[in-house]
Amino acid sequence: MEVTTFTLITGASSGVGREVARSLSRSRRLILHGRDPARLGETRDLCERPNEHLLWSLELCPVEAIDASLVALIHDQRLAIDGFVHCAGTLKVEPLRLLERATAQEIMDVNFMSALEILRLLVRRKTNGKHLRGVVFISSTASEFGARGFGAYCASKGALDAFMRAAAVELAPQVRVNSVLPGATRTAMTETMLSDAALRQRMEADYPLGLGEPGDIAAAVEFLLSDGARWITGQQLVVDGGRTVNITA
C-alpha cells in the first residue's frame, strides 16, 4: 500500500514560510507549523486544496516541548513525513552590551535548536520510519557575514548551516539536506526595518537586483526538494539578488 507522505513546514504562518507553503501545496500535502492557529488557517486557505493540509500549532521555544507534541501528531494521525522545511526564525537586533542571555537563547532555540530537534525526531525509525527524503533550512546570508547587533542571529544561522552539512553527510544517501541563504525579502519580519525610509533606501542600494520577494526564496526551496536536485546535498544556496558579492554600494 502506498503511504501518503507529508512535508512539514515550520514558520508557515507568515513571510517566507507562508510562501513556501503556497508553492509546495501545488504538488505536496503539507503539515503547516506556526504559533498562531488563526494565522496558520489563513496560510492553509491560501494553499491549493486546503483540506488536504494539516495544522500544527506550537511555540518552538522552549525546544523541550517539541518532542512530545510532534511525536503525538505523527502517531495520532499515522503520518509519514518525507519533507521538512525549517522556515521558523526570529530576528532581534540588539547591540552586544544590551543583549540579554535569554534573548540570545531564544534566537538560538527558534532558529537552530528547533531544526535539530525536529530533524532528530524525523529520522527516528519508531517515529517516522524511513520516510524522510528532503530537508531544506531557511538560513540567512547572516550565516556568512557579520552585522552590528546581529551577534546572536548570525550565530544561530551559522550553527544551522554547520548542522546542515553534518546532517547531510550523516543521512546520505537516503536524505538530502541543504540550506537556502536569503537576503532581505519583503516580509513582516523585515517590515519594521523597511519602514525606515533611510534604511530602506540604503538596503535597496545594497541589492543589485532590488529587494526580494518571499516567492523568490520559495522557488529555491521547491527546486532543492525536487528530483532535479537529487545530487545536491550539504550545500548553502545564496538567494540574495547579489547582495553579498556587492561591495560597490
Binding site: P208, D216, A229, R230, T233, G234, D240, G242
Partner: protein, 255 residues
C-alpha cells in the same frame, strides 16, 4: 516534460551552450530543449553537434562549430547568431581538464586550460553584453565551474586556478550586469561520469578512484544532475539569484 509549463519552463528562450557536443554541455542542451528553450549549440566537434541535433526536443535550435580558443572571434560570431533572434543567456560548459604536476606545467600547458575554461567565459560575456545580442527583457548566464575551485588536489593546479577564476569572474559580472537584468552564476559540479572525467580518472590509481567515489556521500553524479542546476538558474526560479555558486556534488564538499 516537453510542453508542460512548469516552474523551470524556458519557453522560447534562446540559450547558447558551449561544449555542447559532450558531457555536461550535451546534457544541458537536451534538458533545455525539453524545457522548450531554443538551443544554440556550440562546440569544436562538428560531428558531435550533428549527433546532438537528433537528441533535441522542441524546435528552433541552431548549432555552430567554433574554436573557443580563438577568443577575439567570439563576440563576432555571437552577433551573427543573435541576428536570427536575441539570446536570453548562455552556458559555458566547454572546458579542458589538466592533471599535471607543477614541474610539467609550462606556460603553454596552463594557458590552454585558462584560455578555454576561463578566458572564453569572459569573451562570451563580452559578446553577450551588446544590446543587439541579448534579450532586452533580461537574461541569465551560467558558468560551469567545479568543486576544484574550492578544494585542492595534487596535479590540479592549472584546472583549479581556471575554475576558481570563474567564481571571481561571475561575482563581478553579476554586479556589472545587474542593471540590465542579467544574472550571472556558477554551477560547481563534483565528479560526474563524463568523457572528461574518464580521461582524468584514467590517470588515477585504483585506490584514488575508489576514494573519490567514497568521497561523494550520494555517489557519483550524472551530467543530467548538473544540467538541472543550470536550468534552475536559467529559469525564472532563479530570478533573485546572482553572484552565487550552486554546488552540485553529491555532498563532496560538505564532508
Amino acid at each position: 516534460m516537453s510542453g508542460i509549463a512548469g516552474p523551470l519552463s524556458l519557453r522560447s528562450r534562446r540559450i547558447l551552450v558551449t561544449g555542447a557536443a559532450s558531457g555536461i554541455g550535451r546534457a544541458t542542451c537536451e534538458l533545455l530543449s525539453r524545457l522548450d528553450a531554443r538551443v544554440v549549440a556550440v562546440d569544436i566537434d562538428g560531428s558531435g553537434l550533428q549527433a546532438l541535433e537528433q537528441q533535441l526536443g522542441g524546435e528552433g535550435h541552431a548549432s555552430l562549430c567554433a574554436d573557443l580558443e580563438d577568443l577575439d572571434r567570439i563576440p563576432g560570431w555571437m552577433a551573427d547568431i543573435a541576428a536570427a533572434g536575441p539570446l536570453f543567456g548562455f552556458v559555458h560548459a566547454a572546458g579542458v581538464s589538466c592533471v599535471q604536476p607543477v614541474r610539467l606545467l609550462t606556460p603553454a600547458v596552463y594557458r590552454k586550460v585558462l584560455t578555454l575554461n576561463t578566458e572564453a567565459a569572459l569573451a562570451l560575456a563580452r559578446g553577450f553584453q551588446k544590446k543587439s545580442v541579448r534579450d532586452p527583457a533580461g537574461g541569465s548566464i551560467v558558468f560551469i565551474s567545479s568543486v576544484m575551485a574550492d578544494v585542492g588536489s595534487i596535479g590540479a593546479a592549472a584546472y583549479s586556478m581556471s575554475k576558481a577564476a570563474l567564481h571571481g569572474l561571475s561575482r563581478s559580472l553579476a554586479l556589472e550586469f545587474a542593471p540590465a537584468g542579467v544574472r550571472v552564476n556558477c554551477v560547481a559540479p563534483g565528479f560526474i561520469d563524463t568523457p572528461m572525467f574518464g580521461r582524468m580518472s584514467a590517470l588515477w590509481e585504483p585506490a584514488q578512484f575508489a576514494r573519490v567515489r567514497e568521497d561523494h556521500p550520494l555517489g557519483l553524479g550524472t551530467a543530467l544532475d548538473v544540467a538541472h542546476g543550470v536550468a534552475f538558474l536559467l529559469a525564472d526560479t532563479g530570478r533573485w539569484v546572482t553572484g552565487s555558486v550552486l554546488t552540485v556534488d553529491g555532498g563532496y564538499t560538505a564532508h
